[in-house]
Amino acid sequence: MAEKKKTNIILFSGEYDKAMAAYIIANGAAAYDHDVTIFHTFWGLNALRKDEKLRPQKSFMEKMFGKMMPRGAKNLPLSKMNFAGMGPKMIKSVMKKHNAMPVEDLIDMAKEQDVTLLACTMTMDLLGIKQEELIDGLEYGGVAAYIAEGEDGAVNLFI
Protein backbone atom coordinates (compact mmCIF):
# COMPACT_ATOMS: atom_id res chain seq x y z
CA MET A 1 0.00 0.00 0.00
CA ALA A 2 1.15 3.53 -0.73
CA GLU A 3 2.50 5.60 2.14
CA LYS A 4 -0.23 7.24 4.17
CA LYS A 5 -0.97 10.91 3.63
CA LYS A 6 -0.58 13.20 6.59
CA THR A 7 -2.83 15.82 8.11
CA ASN A 8 -1.33 18.22 10.61
CA ILE A 9 -3.30 20.70 12.63
CA ILE A 10 -1.93 23.34 14.96
CA LEU A 11 -4.51 24.14 17.59
CA PHE A 12 -3.41 27.49 18.95
CA SER A 13 -6.83 28.77 20.01
CA GLY A 14 -8.57 27.92 23.24
CA GLU A 15 -12.20 28.32 22.21
CA TYR A 16 -14.80 25.60 22.07
CA ASP A 17 -15.89 26.25 18.48
CA LYS A 18 -12.33 26.34 17.16
CA ALA A 19 -11.36 23.19 19.05
CA MET A 20 -14.48 21.54 17.64
CA ALA A 21 -13.49 22.46 14.07
CA ALA A 22 -9.96 21.13 14.66
CA TYR A 23 -11.19 17.84 16.07
CA ILE A 24 -13.85 17.31 13.40
CA ILE A 25 -11.21 17.78 10.71
CA ALA A 26 -8.83 15.48 12.58
CA ASN A 27 -11.44 12.72 12.85
CA GLY A 28 -12.45 13.14 9.22
CA ALA A 29 -8.82 12.95 8.10
CA ALA A 30 -8.29 9.83 10.20
CA ALA A 31 -11.26 8.27 8.41
CA TYR A 32 -9.45 9.15 5.17
CA ASP A 33 -6.64 6.97 6.48
CA HIS A 34 -4.31 9.90 7.00
CA ASP A 35 -1.70 9.98 9.72
CA VAL A 36 -3.11 12.80 11.81
CA THR A 37 -1.34 15.00 14.35
CA ILE A 38 -2.81 17.84 16.37
CA PHE A 39 -0.14 20.08 17.83
CA HIS A 40 -1.56 21.94 20.84
CA THR A 41 0.16 25.17 21.72
CA PHE A 42 -0.74 28.23 23.82
CA TRP A 43 -4.49 28.36 24.51
CA GLY A 44 -5.04 25.15 22.58
CA LEU A 45 -3.48 23.33 25.53
CA ASN A 46 -6.54 24.13 27.63
CA ALA A 47 -8.60 21.66 25.59
CA LEU A 48 -6.37 18.93 27.01
CA ARG A 49 -6.60 19.91 30.69
CA LYS A 50 -8.28 17.56 33.10
CA ASP A 51 -11.51 18.84 34.57
CA GLU A 52 -10.32 18.57 38.15
CA LYS A 53 -8.41 20.74 40.56
CA LEU A 54 -4.86 19.54 40.93
CA ARG A 55 -2.23 21.15 43.05
CA PRO A 56 1.14 20.61 41.49
CA GLN A 57 4.09 22.71 42.71
CA LYS A 58 3.69 26.09 41.00
CA SER A 59 4.93 29.64 41.21
CA PHE A 60 2.49 32.48 41.99
CA MET A 61 2.20 33.48 38.31
CA GLU A 62 1.65 29.89 37.23
CA LYS A 63 -1.11 29.51 39.82
CA MET A 64 -2.80 32.65 38.52
CA PHE A 65 -2.65 31.39 34.93
CA GLY A 66 -3.98 28.04 36.06
CA LYS A 67 -6.96 29.68 37.75
CA MET A 68 -7.79 32.00 34.86
CA MET A 69 -7.66 29.41 32.10
CA PRO A 70 -10.47 26.93 31.45
CA ARG A 71 -9.92 23.37 32.61
CA GLY A 72 -10.63 21.07 29.71
CA ALA A 73 -12.64 21.00 26.49
CA LYS A 74 -15.96 21.06 28.35
CA ASN A 75 -15.20 24.44 29.89
CA LEU A 76 -13.90 26.36 26.88
CA PRO A 77 -15.64 29.62 25.93
CA LEU A 78 -16.94 30.43 22.45
CA SER A 79 -14.95 32.68 20.10
CA LYS A 80 -18.13 34.61 19.22
CA MET A 81 -21.30 35.16 21.24
CA ASN A 82 -19.86 33.82 24.47
CA PHE A 83 -22.20 36.01 26.56
CA ALA A 84 -20.29 35.29 29.77
CA GLY A 85 -20.81 31.56 29.49
CA MET A 86 -24.39 31.53 28.18
CA GLY A 87 -23.18 31.04 24.60
CA PRO A 88 -21.51 27.66 25.21
CA LYS A 89 -24.66 26.43 27.02
CA MET A 90 -26.80 27.49 24.07
CA ILE A 91 -24.56 25.93 21.45
CA LYS A 92 -24.35 22.68 23.39
CA SER A 93 -28.12 22.39 23.52
CA VAL A 94 -28.31 23.02 19.77
CA MET A 95 -25.55 20.47 19.19
CA LYS A 96 -27.49 17.89 21.17
CA LYS A 97 -30.54 18.53 19.02
CA HIS A 98 -28.51 17.98 15.85
CA ASN A 99 -26.64 15.01 17.26
CA ALA A 100 -23.27 16.75 16.90
CA MET A 101 -20.60 15.31 19.16
CA PRO A 102 -19.27 17.43 22.03
CA VAL A 103 -15.57 18.30 21.81
CA GLU A 104 -14.64 16.01 24.70
CA ASP A 105 -16.18 13.07 22.81
CA LEU A 106 -14.43 14.14 19.61
CA ILE A 107 -11.13 14.02 21.51
CA ASP A 108 -11.87 10.47 22.67
CA MET A 109 -12.85 9.51 19.13
CA ALA A 110 -9.59 11.00 17.80
CA LYS A 111 -7.59 8.93 20.29
CA GLU A 112 -9.51 5.85 19.27
CA GLN A 113 -8.57 6.56 15.65
CA ASP A 114 -4.88 6.87 16.61
CA VAL A 115 -4.66 10.61 16.08
CA THR A 116 -1.42 11.85 17.65
CA LEU A 117 -2.14 14.52 20.25
CA LEU A 118 0.99 16.54 20.74
CA ALA A 119 1.40 19.11 23.51
CA CYS A 120 3.93 21.91 23.12
CA THR A 121 6.26 21.75 26.10
CA MET A 122 7.61 25.29 25.69
CA THR A 123 4.17 26.91 26.01
CA MET A 124 3.32 24.48 28.82
CA ASP A 125 6.25 25.98 30.69
CA LEU A 126 5.15 29.54 29.89
CA LEU A 127 1.59 28.96 31.06
CA GLY A 128 2.70 26.80 33.97
CA ILE A 129 0.78 23.73 32.80
CA LYS A 130 2.18 20.49 34.17
CA GLN A 131 1.95 17.08 32.50
CA GLU A 132 -0.18 15.69 35.34
CA GLU A 133 -2.80 18.37 34.64
CA LEU A 134 -3.32 17.11 31.09
CA ILE A 135 -5.30 14.08 29.96
CA ASP A 136 -3.55 10.77 29.33
CA GLY A 137 -2.31 9.52 25.99
CA LEU A 138 -0.49 12.67 24.88
CA GLU A 139 2.90 13.11 23.32
CA TYR A 140 5.13 16.01 24.22
CA GLY A 141 7.34 17.97 21.89
CA GLY A 142 8.38 21.23 20.32
CA VAL A 143 8.53 22.87 16.94
CA ALA A 144 10.80 20.17 15.49
CA ALA A 145 8.32 17.47 16.39
CA TYR A 146 5.64 19.42 14.55
CA ILE A 147 7.79 20.14 11.49
CA ALA A 148 8.81 16.48 11.28
CA GLU A 149 5.14 15.68 10.75
CA GLY A 150 4.26 18.86 8.88
CA GLU A 151 6.94 18.87 6.20
CA ASP A 152 5.23 16.15 4.24
CA GLY A 153 1.69 16.92 5.26
CA ALA A 154 -1.03 16.85 2.61
CA VAL A 155 -3.18 19.06 4.83
CA ASN A 156 -1.66 21.60 7.20
CA LEU A 157 -3.88 23.87 9.24
CA PHE A 158 -3.45 26.54 11.87
CA ILE A 159 -6.54 27.02 13.99
Partner: protein, 75 residues
Protein backbone atom coordinates in the same frame (compact mmCIF):
# COMPACT_ATOMS: atom_id res chain seq x y z
CA UNK B 1 -26.90 -6.57 -5.44
CA UNK B 2 -25.65 -8.61 -2.52
CA UNK B 3 -24.99 -6.58 0.60
CA UNK B 4 -22.27 -7.83 2.91
CA UNK B 5 -22.96 -5.36 5.73
CA UNK B 6 -25.32 -2.51 6.53
CA UNK B 7 -24.28 0.53 8.53
CA UNK B 8 -26.98 2.61 10.18
CA UNK B 9 -25.58 6.13 10.51
CA UNK B 10 -28.98 7.80 10.57
CA UNK B 11 -29.22 10.80 12.88
CA UNK B 12 -25.46 11.17 13.17
CA UNK B 13 -23.80 14.48 12.35
CA UNK B 14 -20.51 15.23 10.66
CA UNK B 15 -17.91 13.69 10.99
CA UNK B 16 -19.53 10.53 12.36
CA UNK B 17 -21.01 9.05 9.14
CA UNK B 18 -17.57 9.01 7.53
CA UNK B 19 -15.80 7.81 10.69
CA UNK B 20 -18.29 4.94 11.06
CA UNK B 21 -18.12 4.09 7.35
CA UNK B 22 -14.35 3.83 7.59
CA UNK B 23 -14.69 1.44 10.53
CA UNK B 24 -17.38 -0.61 8.78
CA UNK B 25 -15.43 -0.97 5.52
CA UNK B 26 -12.61 -2.57 7.48
CA UNK B 27 -15.04 -5.39 8.33
CA UNK B 28 -15.91 -6.34 4.75
CA UNK B 29 -13.74 -8.03 2.14
CA UNK B 30 -12.49 -6.50 -1.08
CA UNK B 31 -15.21 -6.54 -3.75
CA UNK B 32 -18.03 -6.78 -1.20
CA UNK B 33 -20.73 -4.16 -0.85
CA UNK B 34 -21.24 -2.03 2.24
CA UNK B 35 -24.60 -0.32 2.57
CA UNK B 36 -24.56 2.98 4.46
CA UNK B 37 -27.67 4.81 5.60
CA UNK B 38 -27.33 8.43 6.71
CA UNK B 39 -29.52 11.49 7.25
CA UNK B 40 -26.78 14.14 7.36
CA UNK B 41 -27.19 16.12 4.13
CA UNK B 42 -23.43 16.61 3.94
CA UNK B 43 -22.97 12.85 3.77
CA UNK B 44 -23.79 12.86 0.08
CA UNK B 45 -20.69 14.72 -1.01
CA UNK B 46 -18.66 13.37 1.91
CA UNK B 47 -19.26 9.74 0.97
CA UNK B 48 -18.60 10.40 -2.72
CA UNK B 49 -15.30 12.17 -1.98
CA UNK B 50 -14.25 9.60 0.58
CA UNK B 51 -14.87 6.55 -1.62
CA UNK B 52 -12.98 8.16 -4.48
CA UNK B 53 -9.98 9.06 -2.36
CA UNK B 54 -9.84 5.78 -0.46
CA UNK B 55 -9.90 3.57 -3.53
CA UNK B 56 -13.43 2.24 -3.13
CA UNK B 57 -16.34 2.54 -5.52
CA UNK B 58 -19.67 4.22 -4.93
CA UNK B 59 -21.87 1.83 -6.87
CA UNK B 60 -25.21 3.46 -6.23
CA UNK B 61 -26.95 6.03 -4.06
CA UNK B 62 -30.57 6.71 -3.36
CA UNK B 63 -32.57 9.16 -1.32
CA UNK B 64 -35.88 8.36 0.29
CA UNK B 65 -37.72 10.39 2.92
CA UNK B 66 -34.56 12.24 3.88
CA UNK B 67 -32.54 9.05 4.26
CA UNK B 68 -29.57 8.68 1.98
CA UNK B 69 -28.46 5.18 1.16
CA UNK B 70 -25.04 4.52 -0.29
CA UNK B 71 -23.67 1.31 -1.73
CA UNK B 72 -19.91 1.21 -1.43
CA UNK B 73 -17.90 -1.54 -3.09
CA UNK B 74 -14.66 -2.09 -1.23
CA UNK B 75 -11.56 -1.61 -3.41
Amino acid sequence: MEIAKTLDAKGLACPMPIVKTKKAIDDVDSGEILEVQATDSGAKSDLAAWTKSSGHELVDTKEEDGVYTFYVKKG
